[in-house]
């Protein structure tokens, strides 16, 4: 089961919310090649979730554009699918019905129902498929959300801190699984996080964002193979490097804001 990956181009993107004078995002330029796993990292309020919503077509930028495979993103599509912080499953449906919902919406469920079964098996929920989703644990619910996102064969998987509400053990396990699935199936992934460990564990490239306004201020490649061993020196030193880089950029940005305000 492989999925066609695609490229993302973000060009000169800026965004100012209504009733606000300062932009939330300013001059964002980013290219994400096919199949790359990218993490957007930054402090709360730096606009990284806003940027992700624009990639999903849930928000339209004030200026600039997001293109996926040369198509300008103007509305949501199952082809660029988002997993949210909360699994937001439909509590009146079973595990299978939730996972199949995207296919039901596109009218392809009958033709592709085997895919749902395969995905539920892949995320370890085959034996729970007829249960109501309220009977599952938080980690299992997030797995259903993952299966639901993958069922529509997305070209891009967008993750908005999807594991932040889970316990440490489940979080680590799911981080590894999602990264491997995307990597093996060639799915382009863009993830928002403020967890440095998560960024290094899952991404090929980490993009650092600053706030007021949200800008891309740095990038770091993570050249580690999957599955990633978090105990090796290379992993730990990359985490330290990213943390130092983030801190350096953050302090520089704060200083420049303070100077501007003087």
């Amino acid at each position: 089961m492989t999925t066609k990956a695609s490229s993302v181009w973000i060009s000169d993107l800026s965004h100012t919310f209504k009733k606000q004078t300062k932009p939330t995002l300013k001059n964002i330029n980013l290219t994400i090649p096919k199949g790359q796993l990218t993490a957007l990292i930054g402090r709360s309020g730096c606009g990284k979730s806003t940027l992700l919503q624009m990639l999903a077509g849930l928000l339209i930028p004030s200026d600039g554009a997001v293109r996926i495979n040369a198509h300008t993103v103007t509305k949501p599509s199952a082809k660029w699918n988002m997993m949210f912080q909360k699994p937001s499953l439909y509590p009146w449906m079973t595990v299978r019905e939730n996972a199949a919902l995207g296919l039901v919406f596109s009218g392809t469920y009958k033709a592709k129902q085997d895919r749902v079964e395969t995905l539920l098996e892949m995320v370890g929920l085959a034996e729970h498929k007829d249960k109501n989703v309220q009977q599952l644990s938080g980690g299992q619910q997030q797995r259903v959300a993952l299966a639901r996102s993958l069922a529509t064969e997305p070209e891009i998987l967008l993750l908005d801190e999807p594991f932040s509400a889970l316990d440490a053990f489940t979080r680590t396990q799911l981080q590894n699984e999602v990264a491997e699935i995307c990597h093996n199936q060639g799915i382009t992934m863009v993830m928002v996080t403020h967890d440095i460990d998560e960024a290094v564990a899952m991404a090929d490239k980490v993009v650092i964002m600053s706030q007021n306004p949200g800008e891309i201020v740095g990038e770091m490649e993570v050249n580690l193979t999957y599955p990633r061993d978090r105990s090796v020196d290379e992993f730990i030193s990359l985490k330290e490097k990213l943390f130092n880089e983030f801190e350096k950029i953050d302090i520089a940005k704060q200083n420049s804001i303070n100077e501007d305000n003087l």
């Binding site: 999903a56 849930l58 949501p76 599509s77 199952a78 699918n81 988002m82 949210f84 909360k86 937001s88 439909y90 509590p91 009146w92 449906m93 919902l101 995207g102 039901v104 919406f105 596109s106 109501n132 309220q134 009977q135 639901r148 529509t152």
Partner: protein
């Protein structure tokens, strides 16, 4: 050794403990039957007291024996079915209009803040008016008595349905909309797969309340001009001093009201998505 020492005595505490060990469904059935038996007992004692008092003995036919005998006569002759059919068809028509107008209005009230702000005061004002207060207007506005009664029933049912639906819509998790849009849902799919299942239990809870109000309003509404229905049957029995028939119709009203409520509760349970 005396007899009392030999016979095993079951204390109240032991009996209560034994009762609590019974399966839940059996406890529930025993409790429900006990409730009905208490009601019958009170009714029976009331009947004896009424018969014993020379001032009230004319109303002795309200007692259970006379009532059940009159009820059996109504069933045997088949006249009760036509009466029930007339009333139920009016209730269903009133409820139909209550749902057709109430559910979409409730969705608008629940979904759009501006609509809610505009509608809140007028709706609260209208809700507080007794449905029976519309009677003179209904008589003027509608050509037939039947239509006037259906209008009164619609006025009784609409508000619980509007507010029940609006409450359901307001409880919808906004993320459900976002996820559905993200998965490619169009407007109809959003309504069919997200909004309707999410609010179904609240709509049926509104319908349950509406049935209760409509059933109460039905009897006085059927005093209006019509010559069929349970309300008419009560009025007619009173005028002809057939108190046993009057009481039998009251029993029928209670039984049907209970059955309608049972159907509504079953629908609420069927569409409730909360896992116990």
């Amino acid at each position: 050794m005396s007899d009392s020492q030999i016979k095993p005595q079951l204390s109240f505490g032991q009996a209560l403990a034994g009762f609590k060990n019974l399966p839940n469904w059996l406890q529930s059935m025993i409790n429900a039957t006990s409730g009905m038996l208490i009601l019958l007992l009170v009714w029976w004692i009331g009947g004896i007291l009424i018969s014993a008092n020379p001032d009230t003995e004319a109303f002795a036919a309200f007692a259970p024996e006379a009532t059940f005998s009159a009820l059996w006569y109504l069933i045997e002759t088949g006249s009760i079915w036509e009466t029930i059919y007339s009333s139920l068809s009016r209730i269903i028509s009133g409820l139909f209009w209550g749902v057709v107008i109430g559910v979409p209005t409730g969705v608008l009230v629940g979904y759009f803040l501006m609509f809610r702000q505009i509608a809140n005061m007028p709706f609260q004002f209208l809700r507080m008016i007794s449905p029976l207060a519309w009677m003179p207007i209904a008589v003027l506005a509608f050509e037939t008595w039947d239509s006037a009664i259906v209008f009164l029933l619609a006025m009784a049912t609409i508000w619980p349905i509007v507010f029940g639906t609006a409450h359901g819509v307001q409880r919808i998790d906004p993320n459900w909309f976002q996820v559905a849009r993200n998965l490619g849902a169009d407007g109809y799919q959003m309504l069919r797969r997200v909004i309707m299942p999410a609010i179904a239990q609240d709509v049926f809870a509104g319908i349950r309340l509406a049935i209760g109000v409509a059933w109460v309003v039905l009897v006085p509404a059927e005093y209006l001009g019509v010559t069929s229905g349970l309300g008419y049957a009560i009025n007619d029995a009173r005028d002809t001093l057939e108190y046993d028939t009057l009481a039998a119709v009251v029993v029928v009203i209670g039984v049907i009201g209970y059955l309608l409520d049972f159907i509504a509760v079953t629908l609420i349970k069927r569409y409730s998505w909360h896992v116990e």
